[in-house]
Symmetry: C2
Subunit: 322 residues, 2 copies
């Protein structure tokens, strides 16, 4: 996304600064490593864009953008331990490259570091920024716990699933935007609107992510198409299929989950999903949230042309090839 590149580069430049002391090296080396693994840096860019939208500068919101990005990386380091994930962005995870204790403790430091970045704000705006940040952080942890719970449960509803992705990923997008709005001194109403824009955008993005996993063009998709099906993940596709299936279809789904031939498993599951109109239904749900996001953005009290950056970002996020 060319229009956004300068913002991403600004964040990368900041992340490449010397953010930590040298000692104890066991604590700080993993953080230096992890923060340089890359990523789209969407969250901090949202903060910068929102600050500009409401008449401030992106420079002024830089510490808060960093707080959001650093917090996000803290959650990744700890989630990777919990998920026993060996790699992240094609590199070994912190607990894999060092060990779990290092990953726990350096993650803890990163969460505190996020608060340090956050605090670098006009004093009169600190209480609101802090309130938003802590509330959101706790929600993200609750979302991660729900996600872990769902792995054990067989009766997850679509509503519960959407609530889980809202907490685990979408509230942070909302908070990233509202944080920029706080820096810029936006009204309560506009703060709430831009938060909702981010939250709904995040839900739409996650649903699209589930769809892409099975329906992406293999030539354009970065990883194996059907990975979620292969791993028996309870994505919104799976939950939608289950919610509309006859007992016979449920039986077939269960058999497919045991299937050892992965390519057969993926093909047959896709056929069943198609038969149950799963992709259409999920796409409808996604479009509902996309529409809600755009309505929230429209209602924000600033001239339309100032919204172009956020519209471009939403477009970038939600129009990946299906």
């Amino acid at each position: 996304m060319e229009a956004l590149q300068k913002y991403t580069e600004r964040i990368e430049k900041e992340l490449n600064k010397d953010l930590f002391p040298s000692q104890p090296i066991e604590l700080y080396e993993p953080l230096r490593y992890f923060l340089k693994l890359g990523g789209k840096r969407i969250r901090p860019v949202l903060t910068l864009l929102a600050a500009e939208l409401f008449g401030s500068t992106s420079e002024k919101a830089l510490p808060q953008a960093m707080a959001i990005e650093v917090f996000h990386n803290f959650t990744l380091i700890h989630d990777d331990i919990m998920d026993v994930a060996p790699t992240r962005r094609n590199h070994p995870t912190v607990h894999e490259k060092w060990n779990s204790n290092i990953a726990i403790l350096s993650g803890d430091v990163l969460l505190i570091k996020a608060y340090q970045f956050l605090a670098n704000i006009d004093a009169e705006k600190l209480p609101e920024a802090l309130h938003l940040f802590s509330t959101t952080s706790i929600q993200v942890c609750e979302g991660q716990q729900m996600d872990m719970n769902f792995e054990e449960r067989m009766d997850v509803s679509i509503k519960e699933y959407i609530e889980m992705i809202r907490l685990k990923t979408s509230v942070l997008l909302g908070a990233a935007l509202e944080m920029g709005a706080i820096v810029a001194g936006a009204s309560k109403e506009d703060r709430s609107r831009i938060y909702n824009f981010g939250q709904y955008l995040g839900i739409a993005f996650q649903i699209q992510d589930d769809l892409l996993d099975l329906y992406a063009d293999p030539k354009k998709f970065g990883k194996m198409v059907g990975g979620d099906v292969a791993a028996n993940k309870k994505t919104i596709l799976h939950l939608t299929a289950v919610s509309d299936a006859t007992p016979q279809h449920i039986e077939i789904l269960k058999e497919l989950q045991q299937e050892d031939n992965i390519s057969l498993k993926i093909d047959r599951t896709r056929q069943l999903f198609d038969h149950l109109k799963v992709p259409q239904k999920c796409r409808e749900t996604m479009l509902e949230y996309q529409a809600k996001a755009m309505v929230a953005l429209e209602e924000i009290n600033v001239p339309e042309q100032q919204k172009q950056g956020l519209i471009a970002l939403a477009d970038f996020l939600l129009n990946r090839d299906l």
Copy 2:
């Protein structure tokens, strides 16, 4: 300590309130459990005493006292994972009663919760409170990392050891006191003095803790005398012995570390330490820090009679039976 009982009870009352939502229960049940395991609650009591010392009320400093206590419990939950500790205050640790993932994530939530308590302060005092809290929190993590490093190292100096206990435990005592001073609007100078009082008191307390472990009256000591020796822990006693020992003594110490007969091991090690005048030397170091603490307290610009609570607390902490 009768004089302090009303403060401890006030904290217990607050900890017994419903601090968390009901769901996800997997996240909040462990926190309810852990916060009710008891403990001396010294840190939050320090915050309340300091607020009163500088002319405020303990009620006003209650949220900040809770922030300190909740933060302390967060460190215990995560440290217990890292130390593979099966019990805490005679009850199973969180990772033992539930699992490591739950202990990581509920610990994370508790750290954020500490910031939420902290933020409940007059807006103009928030930046200073936040700065002190985050700086201290990072130092505590650094101290924990140093402690873990020392387990692997054979060349730890006494100076390094004192720096480790300063970071791991003493800075939080200093910060607990300074937090009360911030709530009460104390001067920068007095804030720094009361911080130093707590910091030096903490170092003296830790040295005494090491001494008690080997030299306590078994009838009055709550646990096995000599536990640190049995576990080959590098306490300040051990480091002092090594720093003054001849090669022959070092050889004997090494042999004793391999000794299977625990009671023989403890007796012989104590004899060697006595021969090397280890307890006297450690007691001297402890008294140095105690004296520094009392000087810092003396220099604080409030009438002497207002300092009686803190003097009583220092006395309670530093005059346990040797």
